[in-house]
């Protein structure tokens, strides 16, 4: 056993104030969660991956010498890293090659990224808003309101969502807006259930009773007292719904019900890639990596967030 050095102990004096002083800063719940998140290496790496994909999607199409829909028949299906010889863009490199119409895939991938990520984020926000309001109202009022609202939810939930999406795609022109509307029609259900469960658990607590006693309106109680307490689960759920939207968009684009040419998304690029991947595998592999990497990063980041907000759930 190691001898304990005496000099490690010092007398700090007899001031009662110093003896009882709190030695570290007090952190709010959010600060504490953020600190835990930053310590989670996987989550931080995922955050950077998401950031890099987003930055490329925003800036790559602006700085690229090619336009996403400009066709060069001299350079169809050229390999990755081909140097362009067409007048105007001589010497520029097709980093990811070109597709069957000679469009630069590097530019198209990041244009597709814009579309896919925009759809994902917009859908996640819409789900968040509808789900939180619906779940909050249903959970807080309880009784008949709750029963009716939950029955409606269960019936919508019973119909497979892809059927609703496909039915809607038939009557609206295919495109970004349709995908967003279609997904939002059903995407809010898990969020509403989650928020309702949380609110039901919270509304019997003393701080709600206190607010009611002070005469706060239901809107104020839901918005100011109940919802902020469900924030952590809501944030986690939103993060985890983004990969689900990206998957749905890719799936619909694959079925030909999604983004239409010449616009592109990662899903429609993957679909175009599958058509001739036997000869030009890179045309499938690059969008496949983008889709998978995004889904993976959001999934792992969501797991990290959950661990950070609620360390008891850590497995």
């Amino acid at each position: 056993m190691q001898a304990i050095e005496k000099k490690r102990f010092t007398h700090i004096g007899e001031s009662a104030h110093e003896r009882e002083a709190i030695s570290s800063y007090s952190l709010t719940y959010m600060q504490d969660a953020m600190r835990r998140l930053m310590r989670n290496k996987v989550a931080v790496v995922c955050m950077f991956v998401i950031l890099i994909l987003a930055l490329f999607s925003i800036f790559a199409p602006i700085f690229s010498p090619f336009d996403y829909r400009e066709q060069h028949y001299a350079h169809t299906n050229s390999a990755m890293g081909t140097v362009d010889t067409v007048e105007g863009t001589v010497g520029a490199i097709h980093y990811f090659g070109t597709d069957k119409l000679g469009r630069d895939l590097f530019t198209r991938i990041w244009m597709g990224g814009r579309v896919s990520l925009t759809i994902a984020i917009v859908c996640a926000i819409i789900d968040l808003i509808i789900g939180v309001i619906y779940g909050g109202v249903s959970g807080y009022f309880g009784g008949t309101t709750d029963i009716v609202m939950m029955r409606i939810l269960e019936i919508i939930n019973g119909i497979p969502y892809l059927i609703i999406v496909i039915l809607l795609m038939m009557i609206m022109p295919p495109g970004m807006l349709t995908i967003i509307v279609a997904y939002s029609l059903v995407g809010w259900i898990p969020m509403a259930r989650l928020v309702r469960g949380q609110v039901v658990a919270l509304k019997r607590q003393e701080f709600v009773v206190a607010a009611e006693a002070l005469g706060a309106s239901p809107v104020r109680i839901i918005a100011r007292h109940l919802l902020p307490n469900t924030l952590s689960v809501v944030i986690v759920r939103t993060t985890l719904s983004i990969p689900a939207v990206i998957f749905t968009e890719a799936y619909l684009s694959y079925l030909g019900l999604g983004i239409q040419l010449p616009m592109c998304s990662w899903g429609s690029l993957a679909q175009a890639g599958i058509e001739n991947f036997r000869l030009y595998p890179y045309q499938l592999i690059i969008p496949a990596i983008c889709i998978s990497l995004t889904m993976l990063a959001f999934n792992l980041f969501g797991d990290g967030l959950r661990d950070a907000f609620d360390p008891r759930l850590r497995r």
Binding site: I156, P160, I163, I166, I171, Y251, M295
Partner: protein, 311 residues
């Protein structure tokens, strides 16, 4: 239990009604007309066609006729193929069901084993390995997985090593089912194995496992008899969503591997504006999912008598 069953049945019927209603009216809102392509046909012939398919009556009447027919198992006659929809569906669905059940079996058996091994060997190589598989399954969509498998395991294996293990596409032989079933099942496998790992870890920490050890039971008996049986319950609860995921996945997997299943009809009928076929496949597919979910929910109570289903 009885009350719960009745309640669940009532929901299933209500949902089915909502589904048929939705499908019917969405379809009527479609732009275009199923007979619009046949320009040379005279007005009288057109009217006769409309009468034959019942399109001359008011929409509400059409709906109730349609609803009654659905309940009797008659989904109408396909406008494009001029054959009863039920006939087309029943022949095509056999193929889809075959593929789907293979994928589900693969996902559940391998998923449960992987998850259990990962929990027992927590933190070791086997754990990391199975969680990597699970992460791949979660983040690679099935149709991309299918195309990649085709490229690497069918095409390149034959080109580079001369091994003709996996045919690229088609349906009929056992060999041809391996790649599509794998691609289709991988996503669900990931879900099952993650859930199984969590649940197994939870069970392994329980007191009755310690008691079993203290009694001197063999490790194998503890794992198979005590731990596995108790930790498999959460897997049963997600069988409903898994059936749904696999069934929807079949649409794209079938088109990639050129399999003559139901998926093909679903997509082509939308493009052909084949009213009866669209609603037929939708109602069939939706109804199937509703029934599957119902069965899983009810089974849950029978499998685990500890769970008391509340009415």
């Amino acid at each position: 239990m009885v009350r719960y069953t009745i309640k669940r049945l009532a929901y299933a019927v209500l949902t089915l009604f909502a589904l048929i209603l939705l499908t019917f009216f969405m379809m009527r809102l479609l732009p275009g007309d199923p007979f619009i392509g046949e320009k040379t046909v005279s007005q009288t012939a057109m009217d006769n066609m409309r009468i034959k398919y019942g399109l001359d009556k008011p929409v509400i009447v059409q709906f109730f006729i349609y609803f009654g027919n659905c309940l009797r198992g008659d989904l109408g006659i396909s406008i494009t193929y001029n054959r009863p929809v039920t006939e087309i569906i029943s022949s095509a669905f056999l193929v889809s069901a075959d593929l789907g059940s293979r994928a589900i079996l693969f996902a559940v058996i391998i998923g449960v084993l992987l998850g259990a091994v990962a929990a027992v060997k927590r933190g070791k190589f086997a754990d990391t390995f199975s969680m990597i598989i699970a992460m791949i399954g979660v983040s690679v969509p099935s149709f991309i997985m299918g195309a990649l498998l085709q490229y690497f395991l069918a095409l390149q294996l034959r080109k580079v090593f001369g091994l003709n293990w996996f045919p690229i596409q088609g349906w009929g032989t056992l060999k041809q089912t391996i790649l599509p079933a794998f691609a289709l099942g991988l996503g669900s496998l990931a879900t099952v194995s993650r859930l199984m790992r969590t649940s197994m870890l939870d069970v392994l920490g329980q007191d009755y496992i310690r008691t079993a050890r203290a009694k001197g039971l063999s490790e194998r008996r503890i794992l198979w008899r005590h731990a596995m049986r108790n930790s498999i319950m959460p897997v049963v609860t997600i069988m409903g969503p898994i059936v749904a995921a696999v069934l929807t996945g079949t649409f794209v997997i079938e088109s990639i591997f050129n399999i003559p299943g139901l998926g093909k009809y679903f997509v082509t009928s939308i493009k052909d504006l084949d009213y009866t076929m669209i609603s037929g496949t939708t109602v069939f597919y939706g109804g199937l999912l509703i029934v599957c979910t119902l069965i899983v929910d009810l089974l849950y109570g029978f499998i685990d008598p500890r769970i008391k289903l509340e009415g």
